[in-house]
């Protein structure tokens, strides 16, 4: 498979009045064409920041201080604003978490879906209208022509997220980044949206990065998983490997926290709290919450140890072997 995206040693810092927050602390991964990558972690783990960096959409106080991002052979960090704007929306489509606030309340849905086509000068207005209508139909919005004249507040939550997906896919992107696309939706709608994403991926033949805090959503959609905790990558590998043989204590905690309807299982809350990222703990960031932490965990940051085929874990327990 061809390499589409390659991230190497990405470091993103947020400059706040309280101090410098390391939002992404040196992570690296690759994404191949057609591959679906899931990035899983609690909120504040840096998973969103790591993908927003791909199109340099960080807030004003956020800065990429080190590392390289290569997308489709282009060095993202060296692109001019114009070149970057050319990639955004056209080659990389984004779906955000809250479809209500992510859609402009005073612009019609149709206009918002058409905008990426028009802004990138991909076609005429009439053509854009047609394509937007088709796309809305494809993502499962009934009566797309009438609904294009309506405003976001006239749509239900699930329908809005379908609109967001339509916007992200209208230019036929090479990569779709879905940042917690289902978090604000109810459980049934969540499943529908994931199913839609899955269908669209196979139909349009693109790569997908799915960001979620819910491991359960990844199992039958993602090819590969990255588990993130406190700005660091904890574990990565094939979805089945990670879910069936988790090698990092944090991953195990996450798996225990997944509600499973079939197996009547007690939800196990992770003890402790997420560390303060301005003054993070030394060594492994997880050690204050880790029941198996050792002396080395408190002083030295673990590298990614291979634990299987393409399966890595940043835990000293794995490195000892």
């Amino acid at each position: 498979m061809d390499l589409l995206l390659s991230i190497d040693n990405l470091n993103v810092y947020f400059y706040r009045s309280e101090g410098v927050l390391k939002a992404v602390d040196g992570i690296s991964y690759n994404l191949h064409k057609g591959e679906v990558l899931g990035i899983v972690g609690e909120s504040g783990s840096g998973k969103s920041v790591s993908v927003l960096s791909i199109v340099r959409l960080l807030p004003a106080n956020g800065k990429i201080v080190d590392g390289s991002i290569s997308f489709d052979g282009k060095d993202i960090l060296k692109l001019s604003m114009n070149e970057l704007q050319d990639i955004r929306g056209k080659d990389i489509g984004f779906v955000f978490q809250d479809p209500m606030s992510s859609l402009n309340p005073v612009i019609t849905v149709g206009q918002q879906v058409m905008e990426p086509l028009l802004w990138h000068n991909l076609c005429s207005r009439e053509e854009a209208y047609k394509r937007a209508k088709n796309m809305l139909g494809m993502v499962g919005i009934p009566f797309p022509e009438e609904r294009m004249k309506e405003y976001p507040f006239q749509f239900s939550g699930g329908m809005r997220q379908r609109v967001m997906i339509a916007i992200a896919l209208i230019c036929n992107p090479k990569l779709l980044i879905a940042d917690e696309p289902t978090t604000s939706l109810d459980v049934t709608t969540q499943a529908q949206i994931i199913r839609l994403l899955k269908n669209m991926r196979s139909e349009l033949d693109m790569s997908v990065i799915l960001i979620t805090h819910n491991l359960a959503l990844t199992s039958n959609f993602c090819d590969r998983l990255i588990i993130m905790y406190a700005s660091n990558m904890m574990e990565t590998g094939g979805t089945k490997d990670v879910l069936n043989t988790p090698s990092h204590p944090y991953t195990r905690f996450l798996l225990d926290a997944v509600p499973d309807i079939e197996v009547e299982k007690e939800l196990v809350p992770i003890p402790g709290t997420i560390p303060d990222l301005i003054n993070p703990p030394e060594g492994c960031k997880f050690h204050p919450r880790c029941p198996m932490s050792m002396d080395i965990c408190r002083t030295e940051k673990p590298p990614l140890f291979p634990v299987g085929d393409g399966h890595y874990s940043a835990c000293w327990l794995c490195g000892r072997e």
């Binding site: 704007q85 050319d86 309340p105 005073v106 990426p116 802004w119 916007i167």
Partner: protein
């Protein structure tokens, strides 16, 4: 929409009735009367010729013909009905203070002047204030932003009569091209409008800055960037549209305030507007003018609010659609 406007107009009329009733009761219960004040302050103060207290007392209680409808020989409710009748039939009688002018004449002569000046001042404020606010918001935390913010603070804090003196010095002394005083020619509009527009420029620029900054923080702006929008697309196509809507809400009260609250500027430049008539009405116990003032003020404020709501209706789809 038409139904909605009719309903609102009905409310305005009801509110005016309540307002005028409250005003009527209050005004009738305030101590002092027009004649006493005229005699004690207007005359004895400056020109009394050895006027003795007993002479003044003789004048107390004397009512001239024009004051009869406000007199105490008929019950209060009847006086109020007379007032309402005058209001409805546009025959409110003469002002006490301006005895040869009726209330309708005063309003008919002065309202167009006050209204024109207010609209001009707000127009200038919009033309200057919005770009200033946008500039400050886009260059947030730069020297431009600090300069605009400082300017906003200064012009909002300086009362318009001080601004009046400032513009007089600027355009009549340092660059002597405009007269300080007078009315009738287009050039006479320039200084008063300018003096009046400073405050609104400040508030519009400040409001626009905050409103745009707020809009730029919204999630849909991130979406617009993610869609590959340029600054033009994102800021003017998406953020501005949202930040202009709340701006409309401050324009209504701003215009009504400018129509009625410009006494100093009127006096300073010789603008024949409503402010000077109204500012003296309460102090001199000119009942007809006080009542008219209350009703007019209420009416202007409510009509401005109605207009704002109608504009809002067209600007904000959320309201437009839900009221359809």
């Amino acid at each position: 929409m038409t139904q909605y406007i009719i309903k609102r107009i009905g409310w305005i009329i009801f509110n005016l009735l309540v307002l005028s009733l409250i005003a009527f009761i209050l005004i009738k219960n305030v101590p002092g009367s027009f004649l006493e004040l005229q005699i004690l302050i207007g005359q004895a103060g400056t020109m009394g010729t050895g006027l003795t207290i007993s002479e003044v007392e003789k004048v107390r209680g004397v009512e001239t013909e024009m004051m009869k409808r406000w007199g105490e020989d008929v019950p209060l409710w009847q006086q109020y009905l007379t007032f309402i009748k005058g209001l409805v039939t546009l025959d409110m009688g003469p002002s006490f203070r301006w005895p040869t002018q009726t209330i309708e004449e005063i309003i008919a002569n002065t309202f167009p002047v006050s209204f024109t000046i207010a609209i001009l001042a707000v127009t200038i404020a919009i033309i200057i204030g919005i770009p200033l606010g946008v500039l400050a918001a886009l260059k947030q935390n730069s020297w431009i932003d600090y300069l605009v913010s400082a300017l906003v603070m200064v012009v909002s804090a300086i009362p318009n009569y001080v601004m009046a003196v400032f513009v007089i010095f600027l355009f009549s002394f340092w660059i002597p091209i405009l007269p300080t005083y007078g009315w009738g020619q287009p050039k006479n509009y320039i200084l008063p409008v300018l003096a009046m527009s400073f405050g609104p420029i400040g508030s519009i620029a400040g409001y626009m800055r905050t409103s745009l900054l707020d809009a730029l923080k919204q999630d849909y702006i991130r979406t617009a960037w993610a869609k590959g929008g340029t600054e033009r697309h994102v800021i003017f196509g998406h953020a501005m549209k949202n930040s202009l809507i709340p701006l409309v809400t401050i324009l209504g009260p701003m215009i009504s305030h400018l129509i009625l609250g410009t006494v100093f500027v009127e006096g300073m430049f010789g603008v024949p507007g409503m402010g000077q008539y109204f500012s003296q009405a309460a102090g001199s116990r000119d009942y007809p003018l006080m009542m008219a003032q209350t009703v007019i003020f209420g009416l202007i404020l409510m009509i401005m609010n109605l207009i704002v709501d109608i504009i809002y209706f067209f600007l904000d789809p959320r309201i437009r659609v839900s009221r359809r």
